[in-house]
């Protein structure tokens, strides 16, 4: 709680202890550097990964964004990271928190994140959540995308299954399928066939295909 309070203070612009980030040295004007340093310190204190924040600043600099825009982007990111940490808990890995922040930014809710984590158990979240973000970027409604991710997790899907599904959905969308339907149907194929997503089995129509419930193989 205290950590999140510190973060909230930092986001409100209250200065805390400064630390140096060598990659940013000499590349930002003093005011921007101060804002960023404050945010980094608070993120660190709140148990949030700082690498994505530094990365965001570097990205903004390469893109020649204005300092205001960089600081705004970093504040948003820090907020998302904080929200992901709050949802996923203090023991979640940095990678999971980072993936969670992206998923939240893509429109997933805290409940969706919690549900996915609940089903995935100890397995990492970064690939499933990255696939979730990709699906949303392709036009799959976020509710459908989240259901798909959960559904696969319940079937014990591996990271490769997730990326395979994402590729399959991309192809189906390219062939003219509505994104939501493409995602929902592919998910069913992956779990019913085991590894069907990679063999090019044609997509079925919702409600008209075989009504078999998905097998749930033992979780690895």
């Amino acid at each position: 709680m205290r950590q999140l309070l510190l973060l909230a203070l930092a986001l409100a612009g209250v200065p805390v202890v400064r630390a140096q980030e060598p990659r940013l040295e000499g590349r930002l004007d003093p005011a921007t550097r101060a804002s960023v340093a404050t945010l980094l310190d608070s993120a660190r204190a709140a148990g949030l990964p700082t690498e994505p924040i530094v990365d965001k600043v570097l990205e903004g600099m390469t893109k020649r964004a204005s300092p205001d825009r960089i600081v705004a982007a970093v504040r948003t990111l820090a907020t998302d990271l904080g929200a992901a940490r709050a949802t996923l808990g203090p023991t979640a890995s940095d990678d999971d928190v980072i993936a969670g922040a992206s998923a939240l930014r893509a429109g997933a809710s805290g409940e969706m994140l919690a549900r996915i984590k609940g089903v995935r158990g100890k397995a990492g979240l970064s690939v499933p959540l990255a696939v979730l973000s990709d699906l949303v970027a392709r036009g799959v409604p976020v509710d459908t995308a989240a259901s798909v991710i959960v559904h696969l997790a319940q079937g014990g899907a591996s990271d490769a299954d997730y990326t395979g599904l994402e590729r399959g959905v991309a192809r189906d969308i390219g062939a003219g399928a509505p994104p939501g339907a493409a995602a929902a149907i592919r998910a069913r194929i992956v779990t019913t066939d085991g590894r069907g997503a990679l063999t090019g089995a044609p997509a079925s129509v919702p409600g008209k295909g075989p009504n078999a419930s998905p097998k749930t193989p033992a979780r690895p």
């Binding site: 990659r23 994505p52 990365d55 965001k56 570097l58 990205e59 903004g60 600099m61 390469t62 893109k63 964004a65 825009r69 960089i70 705004a72 982007a73 948003t76 990678d95 993936a99 992206s102 930014r105 893509a106 990492g124 970064s126 690939v127 990255a130 696939v131 973000s133 990709d134 949303v136 970027a137 392709r138 591996s158 990271d159 490769a160 299954d161 997730y162 990326t163 994402e166 991309a170 192809r171 189906d172 390219g174 062939a175 003219g176 399928a177 090019g200 089995a201 044609p202 997509a203 079925s204 129509v205 008209k208 295909g209 075989p210 690895p220």
Partner: protein, 193 residues
């Protein structure tokens, strides 16, 4: 007088031969239109599924799908070995080359025949255009570089001639765009359990 006139024309022609920047989304737009014009495997599949039959892929649809998949896979892995033979130009895409203990080695390819330099920037190299230059093949126009990446998602793009931001035409876009210049995403797969 004649020489001077020819010189003018030649200067004009030189000026007009300069490369012209295309919208980085150009390829994607063309291919989206091409896919809409393509025979529509989706509709073929739809028709096939509405007829009751045992769970078996019909030969024609399966063949078409397999051919299309093979094409996509081939292009994806052909991007792995750009060759110097003239006219052999793979579709730009980041493609997995090899797995190592440190992560997966991914090859990034960009087709840019008019470029003088191409650099890869991303969350794996601090978005530093000086750090990961691509090399052009002997045939010209095809730029590539291999890079080991940790499993998980990565954002990246290309910087052409030190000034033009170019996302990967064949890769999905990142959902968020904080700075008005979109990034591409590659998800490096973890272990297949």
């Amino acid at each position: 007088m004649h020489d001077e006139q020819d010189q003018l024309i030649s200067q004009v022609a030189d000026e007009l031969r300069a490369p012209v920047a295309l919208d980085p989304a150009f390829d994607a737009r063309v291919m989206a239109a091409v896919r809409r014009a393509a025979p529509g495997r989706w509709r073929l599949a739809l028709r096939w599924w509405t007829e009751p039959r045992p769970l078996r892929v019909s030969p024609l649809v399966g063949l078409a799908c397999a051919a299309a998949l093979a094409g996509v896979v081939v292009i994806g892995t052909r991007a792995v070995q750009p060759r110097s033979a003239p006219g052999t130009v793979p579709v730009p895409a980041a493609a997995l080359v090899a797995s190592t203990d440190a992560g997966e080695v991914v090859q990034f390819v960009l087709v840019a025949p008019q470029a003088a330099t191409v650099a890869l920037v991303g969350d794996f190299n601090d978005w530093d255009p000086g750090r990961t230059p691509l090399r052009v093949t002997a045939g010209g126009g095809v730029w590539s570089v291999n890079l080991p990446l940790r499993p998980g998602p990565h954002q990246y793009a290309f910087v052409v001639d030190g000034k033009e931001w170019r996302p990967d035409p064949a890769a999905p876009r990142a959902v968020t765009d904080d700075f008005g210049a979109p990034n591409s995403v590659i998800i490096v797969g973890g272990k297949s359990t």
